[in-house]
């Protein structure tokens, strides 16, 4: 069964003519000589909200590193915003995994967002009041902070904020350059359930209003399921892509894992995947001697 073929009828209008934001063809990636996944085909259109799912160590972050151009593909072709990975760095906003600031970090959230805008520029910045460029930058920073709803606490030291507040400011930082693609690595990881839903809703709103393509790595699909357009699911050295209802099904996941897997739906619409093997231990034992 080909998930691509099924999905073509359900795709949002305009998806075909719009240039794909991300394309991967027969792609394979390796880390330190150890294969992570192979035979992966992806086609993600501009403005879609996509979750990247799968067990630990299945290569979710690896996908982001490939798209950022930090890790070259071992096989296959990749294109990100109409060019090879790494060619459109300034059009990608990236939020790395498990980033939090301890209480001693004496930098305001505002400064952190500002660094996302012009932190790469050399030279000493003039005081904002004296430079038009500085005023424009300050305006853009304020806009991004308002977009994520963090205006109330943006001028407090980032270390003094809660995980959810820090995460919103980090999303503002990733957004501040008006990227066309947003890569978020486990932004919901350290948040409680209600905050996970709130941040997912926020990301979906940004995705719709700004037309940004979003790839969000998550380990639990349920809090974000209502907001998603598509999912990419990695497991057992491979990956599939499609809408949540196509991919998170018993037959598709059984084929991916290579063992019978069941997907149960609870009465409130939550999906529970049952019967997956424990891949990390098995995986390591098989490849460790190869280093």
């Amino acid at each position: 069964m080909n998930t691509q073929a099924i999905s073509s009828g359900a795709e949002p209008a305009g998806r075909q003519e719009a240039e794909g934001a991300i394309r991967l063809e027969a792609a394979a990636a390796a880390r330190g000589g150890r294969p992570v996944w192979s035979g992966v085909d992806l086609s993600i259109g501009q403005g879609e909200f996509v979750a990247v799912l799968g067990p630990n160590g299945s290569g979710k972050s690896t996908l982001l590193h490939v798209l950022l151009g930090l890790l070259p593909l071992r096989e296959g072709i990749a294109s990100v915003i109409s060019g090879p990975p790494g060619s459109a760095k300034d059009q990608i906003g990236y939020l790395p995994q498990r980033r939090s600031f301890d209480a001693g970090t004496r930098v305001r959230g505002l400064d952190l967002v500002r660094l996302g805008l012009d932190g790469t520029r050399w030279g000493f910045p003039l005081p904002t009041a004296l430079s038009p460029r500085g005023r424009a930058a300050a305006g853009r920073v304020e806009e991004a902070i308002e977009l994520v709803g963090a205006s109330a606490y943006a001028s407090r030291p980032i270390g003094a904020l809660s995980g959810g507040e820090q995460q919103r400011l980090l999303i503002a930082q990733a957004l501040v350059r008006r990227p066309r693609l947003l890569l978020l690595d486990e932004p919901l990881d350290s948040l409680d359930l209600s905050n996970q839903g709130a941040v997912a809703a926020l990301v979906q709103r940004i995705c719709r209003e700004e037309g940004v393509t979003v790839l969000l790595v998550a380990h639990d699909v349920n809090p974000i399921l209502p907001y998603l357009d598509r999912v990419v699911y990695f497991a057992a050295g491979s990956g599939v892509e499609g809408t949540p209802r196509e991919v998170i099904t018993g037959p598709t996941l059984s084929r991916l894992y290579g063992v019978p897997v069941e997907v149960l739906e609870t009465s409130d619409g939550r999906l529970v995947v049952v019967g997956t093997p424990e891949p990390p231990a098995h995986h390591h034992a098989r490849h460790d001697h190869g280093d």
């Binding site: 980033r99 012009d118 030279g123 809660s162 930082q173």
Partner: protein, 297 residues
């Protein structure tokens, strides 16, 4: 404490005239000013980057460098700058960005520190063991600065601060948010090395005046105090420099009129300021009531 302030008239104008009467005092004030500006600015980044231990290592290595230069009959400044420069490069090799084991790293650095101090002691002993030399290497020669030294310090500080101004913003980015800075195209590795070299320069320049052990009075304490006061980068840098300048000027002035050494006054003043600011901010925070729930780590 009864301190006999010989010659102090309590008339600001005549006291200032007294202070600048002798060239050694003018040179001390000039050198102190240059070093305070440099140490205040570079120290602010050092505290932000949590590289205080690296700064400490550089200052400890400055001691054998200076002692070795004295023994070899070379200019003492060459010893300070040479040793700190080499130590900065060595440190950048030990503490590569992305390596997440500060524990073993600091153990390795500590081992080298102890060896450096031992070497310095050997050099001083070999140099027929004049105790006054040892003391000035460790605790400074505030009042023995020559006009030539002031000139060298001025150019070194100007070059270092100009370089810091150019790399300042990406350095701030790399310091608070390394992973994102790296993917945005900031050369974080090169910046880490560049900053350690700058820190080496600042330590060497400061050590020439304050001695190897009192470097921190100007490099850490004003910066740490400034970061207590504000989290804003621009004002924080300015406050750090202003505090370093005030403790240097006040320390030199009090030292001139009192029988106790300048090094003692500079360190005590900066320590006193740090404690006062901490207590004051603590009291303010308590008055504002308990921290909101969201602030808990």
């Amino acid at each position: 404490m009864a301190i006999e302030l010989a010659g102090l008239s309590w008339n600001p104008v005549s006291d200032l005239e007294q202070l600048t009467e002798f060239p050694f005092m003018v040179q001390a004030l000039e050198a102190g000013t240059i070093v305070a500006v440099m140490a205040g600015a570079i120290g602010w980044f050092m505290v932000l980057r949590r590289q205080t231990f690296a700064g400490h290592t550089l200052s400890v290595i400055a001691f054998p460098g200076a002692a070795g230069a004295t023994l070899a009959g070379l200019p003492i400044a060459l010893g300070y700058f040479g040793a700190c420069g080499m130590a900065a490069i060595a440190l950048s090799q030990v503490s590569r960005p992305g390596r997440e084991s500060p524990g073993s790293e600091s153990a390795a650095i500590g081992t080298v520190q102890a060896f450096g101090l031992g070497l310095g002691f050997l050099f001083v002993t070999l140099y027929s063991g004049q105790l006054s030399d040892l003391e000035s290497l460790l605790f400074g020669t505030f009042l023995g600065i020559t006009a030539a030294q002031v000139q060298t310090l001025f150019w070194v500080a100007l070059a270092a601060l100009a370089f810091l101004a150019v790399i300042g913003r990406p350095l701030l980015f790399a310091s608070v948010d390394g992973a994102v800075a790296r993917t945005a195209g900031v050369p974080t590795g090169a910046l880490a090395l560049a900053f350690l070299l700058l820190l080496g320069l600042a330590v060497a320049a400061t050590a020439e005046i304050t001695g190897a052990l009192l470097v921190f009075a100007l490099l850490v304490t004003p910066a740490a105090t400034a970061q207590q006061i504000t989290a804003r980068p621009g004002p924080g840098l300015a406050i750090s420099v202003a505090l370093a300048l005030s403790v240097t000027w006040l320390g030199l002035a009090i030292g001139y009129f009192s029988p106790y050494p300048v090094g003692f006054w500079v360190t005590s003043l900066s320590f006193g300021l740090y404690v006062a600011v901490r207590l004051l901010l603590g009291a303010l925070a308590r008055r504002r009531g308990p921290e909101p729930l969201g602030a808990a780590p």
